[in-house]
Subunit: 261 residues, 2 copies
């Protein structure tokens, strides 16, 4: 049965989508059948893989509107074991309806993710940069949470609040004690070790969050910024680049932690 | 009476906060009395100016809880004519309460911004990366909207949706035709002209959105990434750097457009 992992942040642009796509591809290259579910209204995963929402035949709204399964929505990607489903929000009205359904009919989303567990080895859920309805739904459907931390001060600064919120999430939902997802870990992204800011944040995060900090850090590289231009994961179009190697290492690090449990 | 301008985006991490702080400082250095209102729950402006939410004596929740004015909440900054007010959200419960009040009591926020118009020359509102309650409240309180566009594909790709949403905002609010804020313009941020992605996006944005694209582009520079480390706007700690010069130019460009109207 699949492991379901959500990528979350309260800060924007920290690398959730870039990580979801490259980790998904790295898991797929290591033999997993992978589904990436983009619950962000901005459709980051689909766009990164070369599909604007207008190019997709179906989106997450169909789960409620047409009672279809996640697998039914799953699009193929340039990698044969890697699939993705998108919110496919194409405008403000659709966004409002989608957010309302994610909030009021979370149960259906969770059910559909559960049903998909038999068909995939890993399901990654790419979230928007806040703890609103899509992220809460994703967390309720997840076994694990992964937190990319951009190597800059505003992101590090707000990390405590995010981790505190994830703890609260575990304790109380509707009066029932529900066990929320485990923390897979936090990992540094877009690290430029040659800048004061990069070194400062790397040191501070290691000092404050050492036990939950994964070893792999993802460097800021031009190659990783080019994914949406090519419509492919970096681990496919340039697997030897430092960014791709980081994501291969991160995938290994995460997988070896499952084995330890 | 102040001009009120909101900085908005649907993509995360595109430079709203960095732009709000540097533009605010540039306006202040040119003689304006400036208030920056950070309506994002992440308190970007306060943190960039060296104040975590725990260091502040008051926050936007006090507008509803204690009926205070925005001026009462205004904090001083390293620049004498530059002030800021923050959502001062210190945890998930406070965030939920804040978002609920922004949605249900938007009228009070708008009133308080209107009252502040007599006391400032420019009011900038720094929004979170989506069109939720704080951004809608900001737009309803604003004369103008400024849209930073990170020079990368996902941001450019979702720009059409954002501009479409801003148009819709102008037409229909509660059955009454309300004139929404004018578009001050869109401007490129974090541009690295030496990368394929940077040149591609700059060209595409000029081609697709020429008429609304401001002339000033903000380069990606190490100096601009250091603001939160120093707790000061870049235009103060290094006014000759290319990033600071871009924000001085942007402020001039925006101010000269008021004069043209
Ligand atoms: N390591 C890296 N080096 C260089 N560029 C990167 C790196 N990681 C991500 N990027 C680029 O930075 C931008 C933001 O990354 P991404 O969209 O993955 O963040 P996000 O957290 O999903 O953003 P949002 O909060 O808007 O969903 C993208 O243009 C991406 O191509
Ligand atoms: N021109 C630039 N060059 C280098 N770094 C920059 C530049 N502009 C902003 N940054 C850095 O990029 C990060 C994101 O910028 P910022 O926080 O201003 O974006 P934002 O749109 O406010 O993000 P959010 O959507 O989370 O509110 C910050 O760490 C900031 O210091
Ligand atoms: Mg994303
Ligand atoms: Mg911000």
């Amino acid at each position: 049965s699949a492991r379901v992992i959500s990528l979350v942040s309260r800060k924007g642009g920290v690398g959730k989508t870039t990580s979801a796509v490259n980790l998904g591809a790295a898991f797929a290259l290591s033999g997993h059948t992978v589904l990436i579910v983009g619950v962000d209204p901005q459709c980051g995963v689909a766009r990164t893989l070369g599909c604007g929402p207008e190019d997709l035949d179906g989106g997450l709204l169909d789960l409620w509107d047409h009672d279809v399964s996640l697998t039914h929505l799953a699009q193929t990607s340039p990698l044969k074991n890697l699939f993705f489903a998108s919110s496919r929000v194409r405008g403000l009205e659709e966004e409002e309806r989608y957010l309302a359904l994610m909030a009021s009919r979370t149960d259906l989303f969770i059910q559909q993710v559960d049903r998909a567990r038999d068909l995939y080895d890993t399901i990654l859920i790419d979230c928007p940069p806040h703890l609103g309805a899509p992220t809460r739904a994703a967390l309720q459907a997840s076994d694990g949470v992964l937190v990319p931390v951009q190597a800059e001060e505003l992101c590090r600064d707000s990390l405590g609040t995010l981790l505190g919120a994830l703890d609260t999430f575990n304790e109380a939902r509707g009066g029932e004690v529900v066990v929320g997802p485990e923390l897979e870990g936090i990992f540094l992204t877009m690290l430029n070790e040659r800048t004061k800011m990069g070194r400062h944040v790397a040191a501070k995060v290691a000092e404050e969050f050492g036990p939950i900090l994964l070893d792999t850090t993802v460097p800021r590289t031009t190659r990783l910024s080019e994914m949406a231009l090519r419509g492919k994961p970096s681990v496919i179009y340039d697997r030897r680049s430092s960014g791709s190697r980081a994501y291969f290492n991160l995938a290994d690090e995460i997988m070896s932690r499952y084995c330890e449990r």
